[in-house]
């Protein structure tokens, strides 16, 4: 059989008419040409699911609606200094707002601030925010710092007085991280966890939420009555592009003006830095990547052994090979650019010969199978992290080789995030972890929750000292550090803590985490700030040049 193709004049004309439709559909797509200068599009790979700043925060993605819609009492700027937001001034001992014993804090609030529904902002809102944070029925993301409040008093409509159980200098950070919610709306809610407010929030922030298209984007309009001055850009759009490579592509084509949070993929940094009309900058994130040793396991009880294991690792090589040099080597739980970083710390690794010698001295001798052992215990253990994270897997592979060279056997045992960071971590069931963590109270150098012996959840049921590290001097210094108000004295305290931690290595720091951010060149006012995870922390100052 045969099907004949015999075009007639009529069928050719029909075809031509149909094909003419295709051209306007595809057209030439160049959003950059059509870019409207009264709006900015910020793209992130993750999507915020709720906008109540007190509830769960998916770090990065949910900080954006938080920064657009709400205000905290004060912010931290790119230099790590506190600047007033809803507070009229920053409380200090010098201005008398903090009592001489450091226990009583008086916070003066701005008087001209209104919620976006027109109601005035008052001390009642601050009190209600505090009450919500300590309300056990509300799924508040954290009470850190607020559990020290002994007494909370509204002195007048624009002043609150807070009495702490004991002096706690990082208390500043607790409020920096907590945005104030409206008393007049949320106090009427029976259940804040499921309140409609969480999807339709009312705040005091620079922008107002107009629309949200699930899975696609959120549109904000400038708040003309914003208390720090109306934003210069009328419309702010937060767009969700789940694939990082595609998000980078959109930042190149101009479909997004600013790629934030997960940012430009590491392997594209060199290319991004050369793009015309784009401004690329590496931005330090609060996290530091560590190797966590479980000091409760027989292999890791001896600090000398942990130090030897740390010394054997090619930390810088792993940064260069895996992260394209994007992470910055640090020897502490702080970035080297943090004000409290101890610059006297010395990197004595990698030194496999010394590491092997130290293990020999500690009694871990190489056995018949090439693996070290002591008292019947083999120097064999696992290392876990989130599965499906190629950069971390590659890092683990390098460490595995480093340790193998000195008779130490490490098995890579990665699991989904919801497994590895569940009880496996919190009940200290792991051997070692590869993990990135930030300090525990904002960016304050206080590290009590991670390093104090009373903070081992497997033993005491509270804290996040998952390595089960115990050191009496570190305990004492940590307790002292949160009481010291003099910055120089604090620096000395935390310098000593960092020194001990580098000597005893409960966690071996690898590098400070950086992400590649890229904006349109004419977007101005963006202040890269390593003290927050929030790309939009100063969104009210952004403008088109």
């Amino acid at each position: 059989m045969a099907i004949k193709f015999s075009p007639t004049r009529r069928s050719v004309l029909k075809g031509a008419a149909a094909s003419s439709l295709i051209v306007p559909v595809t057209g030439i797509y160049s959003p950059a040409l059509a870019q409207k200068r009264d709006r900015i599009i910020l793209g992130t790979t993750q999507e915020p699911v709720q906008f109540n700043p007190l509830l769960y925060v998916n770090a990065g993605a949910e900080n954006i609606p938080e920064a657009c819609l709400f205000d905290a009492l004060w912010d931290v700027n790119e230099k790590g200094e506190f600047i007033p937001n809803l507070a009229a001034r920053i409380p200090t001992m010098e201005n008398g707002d903090i009592s001489a014993d450091g226990k009583v804090w008086r916070i003066n609030l701005k008087r001209d601030v209104k919620w976006s529904d027109g109601q005035p902002f008052t001390a009642k809102d601050v009190e209600f925010t505090y009450q919500t944070i300590v309300n056990p029925k509300v799924a508040v993301r954290s009470r850190s710092g607020f559990d020290l409040i002994k007494n909370f008093k509204v002195a007048d409509p624009h002043t609150v007085e807070i009495e702490l159980e004991r002096p706690f200098v990082p208390f500043m950070w607790a409020w920096q991280n907590m945005h104030i919610v409206p008393h007049h709306l949320l106090s009427k809610e029976e259940n804040i966890n499921t309140s409609g407010f969480n999807a339709q929030p009312v705040g005091t922030g620079a922008y107002l939420l107009k629309t949200r298209t699930a899975g696609s984007h959120m549109v904000y309009e400038a708040n003309p009555n914003y208390h720090r001055g109306a934003p210069k850009i009328r419309q702010f759009i937060h767009k969700f592009v789940p694939d990082q490579l595609v998000a980078y592509g959109q930042a190149r084509t101009g479909e997004i003006d600013y790629i934030g949070v997960s940012g430009v993929p590491f392997d594209r940094w060199a290319e991004a830095a050369k793009l015309p009309d784009r401004h690329f900058f590496p931005l330090g994130q609060p996290w530091v990547q560590f190797v966590y040793f479980n000091c409760g396991k027989p292999q890791f009880k001896d600090p000398k052994v942990r130090k030897a294991l740390y010394l054997a690792l090619e930390m810088q090589k792993a940064i260069d090979d895996v992260f394209f040099g994007a992470y910055k080597r640090t020897l502490s739980y702080l970035h080297t650019t943090h004000w409290a970083y101890n610059h006297d710390l010395k990197d004595s690794g990698p030194n496999p010969q010394l590491a092997a010698k130290m293990l020999d001295e500690a009694g871990w001798k190489v056995g018949a199978d090439g693996v070290r052992e002591k008292d019947g215990v083999k120097m064999k253990f696992s290392m876990s992290t989130t599965a499906g994270f190629p950069a971390r897997q590659a890092t683990q592979a390098i460490f595995q080789q480093n340790w193998k060279a000195i008779g130490v056997e490490m098995e890579i045992k990665n699991m989904p995030a919801s497994v590895v960071w569940g009880e496996y971590t919190t009940k200290s069931q792991f051997d070692t972890l590869l993990v990135s963590w930030e300090p525990t109270v904002g960016m304050d150098p206080d590290y009590t929750a991670r390093a104090h012996s009373k903070m081992i959840p497997a033993k005491t049921g509270s804290g996040s000292n998952y390595t089960q590290y115990e050191n009496a001097e570190v305990d004492r210094l940590l307790e002292e550090g949160v009481r010291q108000t003099n910055v120089d004295e604090r620096k000395k305290t935390y310098a000593r803590i960092q020194e001990i931690l580098l000597e005893e290595v409960p966690f071996g720091p690898q590098g400070g985490v950086y992400q590649g951010q890229m904006t349109h060149k004419s977007l101005q006012g963006i202040k890269p700030n390593q003290y927050v995870v929030d790309a939009a922390w100063n969104v009210h100052e952004w403008s088109w040049g």
């Binding site: 709720q50 966890n193 696609s216 592009v241 699991m415 590895v420 991670r450 996040s464």
Partner: protein, 321 residues
């Protein structure tokens, strides 16, 4: 529709009730038995202590025994809201329904194109068996099935969005163009192309083998010996019979109209159900996951039921009993 058919449909619906309950128990059980849980995301936040996590466990009802958790979920499911999400506290039904239009648009267009083009390729391949066209179609189908969707997707974006700049790289509408059908069409082209390619491969293979079966039957030879034209043989005699297994295939694929495409939706930033599922899975959002499992189970049952009824309608040999 005859009374028999209505009775059959009613019986099938009744039979599917225990099935749905079974699916829900198995789904709920497996989800809760799997290690880890929704609270693990909090561990990564250093300001959250173990005490905080315990408090959240109680606030979210995760401290209850699993059978009580199941019962309270089932109650919420039957009373309309389908429960509330762990993160954000929104009604699950609302969260799911806002994603349905996007997924139906994407999957509907891809499936329709795949059916039309795939069936034509299959017919042509069967009729011109072992021709160059047939070999090309077979090889093409194998390639389309073997290459991963994410690779196709990224290549399509690289070529058409980044290098040529003809089409947007993702999303459903240009910002500010919501509801504009031309804009939707531009955004549909790349993801539909990628999804169609994969679906097309399946459809062309199925329709080719089904057609091959039919055109070798005695009654086709009889028709030909009666002197009927090839076109009449193909479309009147062969197509009707060859289409029967394809209807069953359509019944199986119907649920994807609602469950979405996991990979393609992620690559193309398509705001559909596939992405909702991936996000919910990452965060162990049990209420959303359960809602989606039930939603999909419902359409699997409906899809199969429609296919069975449709097959009975077009194939007189099949009786609904």
């Amino acid at each position: 529709m005859s009374g028999d058919v209505i009775g059959y449909i009613l019986r099938r619906i009744l039979h599917s009730i225990p099935l749905v309950i079974g699916v829900s128990i198995i789904g709920f059980g497996i989800m809760h038995l799997a290690p880890g849980g929704p609270l693990a995301v909090y561990t990564l936040n250093p300001t959250i202590t173990v005490t905080d996590i315990e408090r959240l466990r109680v606030a979210l009802g995760l401290d209850q025994p699993i059978h009580l958790q199941y019962l309270s979920w089932a109650k919420a499911m039957l009373t309309g809201s389908w429960g509330v999400t762990f993160f954000g506290g929104r009604p699950v039904l609302e969260v799911i329904l806002e994603r349905v239009p996007a997924t139906m648009t994407l999957m509907g267009s891809s499936l329709a194109l795949a059916i039309v083009i795939g069936t034509l390729i299959g017919i042509l391949g069967a009729v011109k068996r072992n021709s160059i066209f047939d070999y090309l179609a077979t090889t093409g189908a194998m390639l389309a099935l073997s290459f991963p969707t994410f690779w196709f997707g990224l290549m399509a974006i690289y070529v058409f969005a980044i290098q040529l700049g003809w089409l947007p790289s993702g999303g459903m509408y240009e910002l500010g163009e919501e509801g504009n059908p031309w804009d939707l069409l531009r955004h549909l082209i790349l993801p539909v192309m990628v999804l169609t390619l994969v679906l097309l491969a399946t459809w062309s293979r199925y329709s080719r083998s089904s057609f091959l079966d039919v055109i070798q039957q005695d009654y086709i030879r009889t028709a030909r010996s009666k002197g009927l034209g090839e076109r009449q043989i193909l479309f009147r005699h062969a197509l009707r019979n060859a289409v029967i297994p394809l209807v069953a295939l359509l019944g199986v694929q119907l649920p994807t109209l609602f469950s979405g495409a996991l990979v393609a939706e992620t690559i193309f930033s398509w705001p559909g159900m596939g992405r909702l599922f991936v996000d919910a899975l990452n965060m162990k959002e049990y209420p959303i996951l359960m809602g989606m499992i039930m939603f999909t189970a419902f359409f699997v049952i409906v899809g199969n039921l429609i296919a069975d009824v449709a097959i009975a309608a077009i194939d007189p040999r099949v009786k609904l009993a």
